[in-house]
């Protein structure tokens, strides 16, 4: 789960990581009020679950409350990578002397937490990683002992020469690791980690992603969830045991299993059309799940045909066929439906489906071609 910068700031603060003063606003007036409370130059930053907001114009430096109001009103109407900005963070601007990078992630390869630091922090960090990978220092952490102070120091010595800054950075690296573990983060990142002209260190952009599987033990963080409209639909589907992501094609797909669902989408593309969605109905194809899945698909006006691709597996195909027939009887669907059912009792399933208007096919390739053909140009 993604959380916003202002929420990550709250978590950082609770672990003693220094974050510039700031507050979140949902209207330009609020932004102006906050700017009045805070003193000196400020930054107004879009709070949106998308990267590259800076380059998209979602971050503005302002000097007066009026300017803050103005910037907020511009940013709050913004669309960044398809996401509407509903909140801005108004925060103190820093007198930046130096920008470093500090990031924690769970490394799939070593199967352990990985910390990365670079003296070349800032918005171009990915380019640094690509062009001059030697500037990124990585360290794999033994999860049984955690990060030791001397390891944090060794990393901090890669960032600064001044022992005072080394001590401050090592302290932040240790605290960030603590936070990373404590909140079950899959990512915790400070970029840039700033040194100001007066020699102080600050977190200028806090980023934390939380492991979805661990949310059950973090109710306080679960409450931070701020879903976009698209995500709300996905969450609603999830609550019904469905995994759904809307796309922009015209072939609706209903598949059991995520891998097979992706392969089905790929095939539709391969044969010249575009899938309307990713939709995994999971292990058992109960009539209720089929009803819910179809309800989602028919609400998408782009959909011109529906392709069921079900691999029987443990469940017998005739049971699945009966489930689909039962579900369809409850709905009034104009769209053509192509069904591919493979596995145990496949023939019986075909017989059941033959008594309906549904088009049955024997392979996913055939099903993909058929549903594209029916959908028309």
């Amino acid at each position: 789960m993604k959380i916003h910068e202002y929420q990550a700031n709250e978590i950082f603060k609770s672990f003693g990581i220094p974050v510039p003063d700031g507050k979140v606003a949902t209207t330009p007036e609020q932004a102006e009020k906050i700017a009045n409370e805070l003193d000196g130059p400020l930054v107004v930053k879009a709070q949106v679950h998308a990267g590259g907001r800076g380059k998209a114009g979602g971050v503005k430096l302002v000097k007066t409350p009026e300017e803050a109001k103005d910037a907020a009103s511009k940013i709050l109407s913004m669309d960044i990578k398809g996401l509407i900005v509903n909140k801005v963070l108004v925060t103190k601007a820093l007198d930046i002397k130096d920008e470093a990078y500090i990031g924690f992630i769970v490394d799939r390869r070593s199967k352990k937490p990985l910390v990365m630091v670079s003296a070349s922090g800032g918005i171009d960090i990915e380019e640094v990683a690509r062009e001059t990978p030697e500037k990124i220092h990585r360290f794999i952490i033994d999860p049984l002992y955690g990060l030791f102070p001397h390891q944090a120091s060794e990393l901090a010595f890669k960032l600064y020469d001044d022992i005072k800054l080394v001590r401050k950075a090592a302290d932040i690296i240790l605290k960030l690791y603590k936070a990373f573990i404590a909140v079950d983060a899959s990512l915790a990142e400070i970029n840039p980690f700033v040194v100001t002209s007066d020699g102080e260190t600050w977190t200028s952009d806090a980023k934390i992603n939380i492991d979805d599987n661990a949310l059950a033990r973090h109710h306080d963080i679960e409450k931070m969830r701020d879903s976009t409209e698209a995500e709300k639909k996905e969450l609603d589907a999830k609550s019904k045991g469905l995994s759904y992501i809307k796309l922009n094609g015209k072939i609706g797909c209903v598949v059991n299993g995520a891998g097979l669902a992706m392969a089905t989408m790929d095939l539709i593309k391969k044969y010249g059309s575009e899938p309307a969605n990713f939709l995994d109905i999971g292990g058992s194809s109960s009539p209720l799940k089929v009803v819910n899945a179809l309800n989602i698909l028919i609400s998408d006006k782009n959909v011109k045909s529906i392709f069921f691709n079900i691999f029987g597996g443990i469940t017998r195909c005739d049971d699945v066929a009966n489930g689909i027939v039962e579900a369809l009887s409850k709905l009034n669907i104009d769209l053509p439906i192509v069904i591919r059912l493979t596995g145990t009792n496949e023939e019986k399933a075909k017989e059941i489906l033959s008594r309906t208007d549904l088009i049955t096919v024997s392979s996913m390739a055939e099903g993909a071609r058929k549903s594209i053909e029916i959908a028309g140009k």
């Binding site: 980023k207 661990a214 790929d266 597996g313």
Partner: protein
């Protein structure tokens, strides 16, 4: 031969009295799997499908000699169930359970590694050596004993692939779903190492998907150190760009884990990649 499991594998079912546990115990017994015991704390002394149930894995192992365990335990209890199996001396664990937090898995794999226990999963459909033993929820009837090893990160997509292999008359030596979570036990390379030594296996099908860099790593491994023919299939070319893991994700993996990148990695390692599941068999016969 086959890898990891065969007719001599003695299986213990953790969570045997649950809905899925009891259902699949029946299915596995029907397939011929040697299930020697089950565990559900507080249900010691009962029987499920004729299989004796114990309170602890330790007792079950002592009394029935189980060497392999399959987990149907809900996520909340799965973490301890994994430790318990390893503690009791189980040498191979197949975790069907899904939803285990990543940082818990980090500690678990360290524990199992130290103690020499192998793990398939979590969030795995299991493993089957056709005609010998099935430890999982895979539909037994679509498999046929043969010479192709299958390793996959998916469930039903694996069945789709196997369906074609079986229909083509090739059959499978061993087929396993390693699970799609970020931190898992055996990975592609670990399974390839085993298939390398297995005389019955003449070729391997590797079914990957977007995310992570396991496919890229195994492509490099196959090029350098694997001698049997391999065919790959990657799902997710049309998948939405997905939930990016900040900068750190891209920096750490030195790549973005897209299907296109994975396909490129295989092709540049000389490994044919099937355009759709049906093509796998043609490619297998041609290499």
């Amino acid at each position: 031969m086959s890898i990891l499991i065969d007719e001599s594998t003695k299986v213990l079912v953790q969570g045997i009295t649950g809905r899925d546990g009891s259902f699949h115990t029946k299915k596995m017994l029907e397939y011929g799997t040697q299930i020697v015991s089950g565990v559900t704390p507080g249900k010691g002394g009962h029987k499920i499908e004729g299989v004796p149930v114990f309170d602890t894995v330790k007792e079950a192992v002592e009394k029935t000699g189980a060497d392999t365990s399959i987990l149907f335990v809900p996520a909340k209890f799965a973490v301890d169930a994994l430790y318990e199996a390893c503690d009791a001396g189980i040498k191979l664990i197949i975790a069907i359970s899904e939803g285990i937090p990543v940082l818990d898995m980090v500690r678990i794999v360290a524990f199992l590694n130290d103690r020499g226990t192998s793990l398939i999963g979590p969030n795995s459909p299991g493993i089957i050596s056709p005609g010998k033993s099935k430890v999982g929820i895979l539909p037994g009837q679509i498999f046929k004993q043969g010479s192709i090893g299958v390793i996959s990160r998916s469930g039903t997509l694996t069945y789709e692939v196997v369906h074609h292999i079986t229909n083509a008359g090739l059959g499978e030596s061993t087929c396993m779903g390693i699970g799609g979570d970020p931190i898992i036990g055996l990975k592609f390379i670990d399974c390839l190492e085993l298939f390398k030594k297995d005389k019955e296996t003449e070729g391997v099908v590797l079914v990957g998907e977007i995310g992570g860099t396991d496919e890229e790593e195994s492509a490099a491994y196959i090029k350098e150190r694997f001698t049997k023919p391999v065919v790959a299939f990657i799902a997710g070319l049309t998948a939405p760009p997905g939930k990016r893991m900040g900068h750190a994700g891209a920096i750490a993996s030195r790549g973005t884990g897209t299907a296109a990148e994975k396909i490129r990695a295989f092709e540049s390692a000389g490994i044919p990649v099937a355009g759709e599941p049906e093509d796998i068999v043609k490619l297998l016969k041609s290499v």
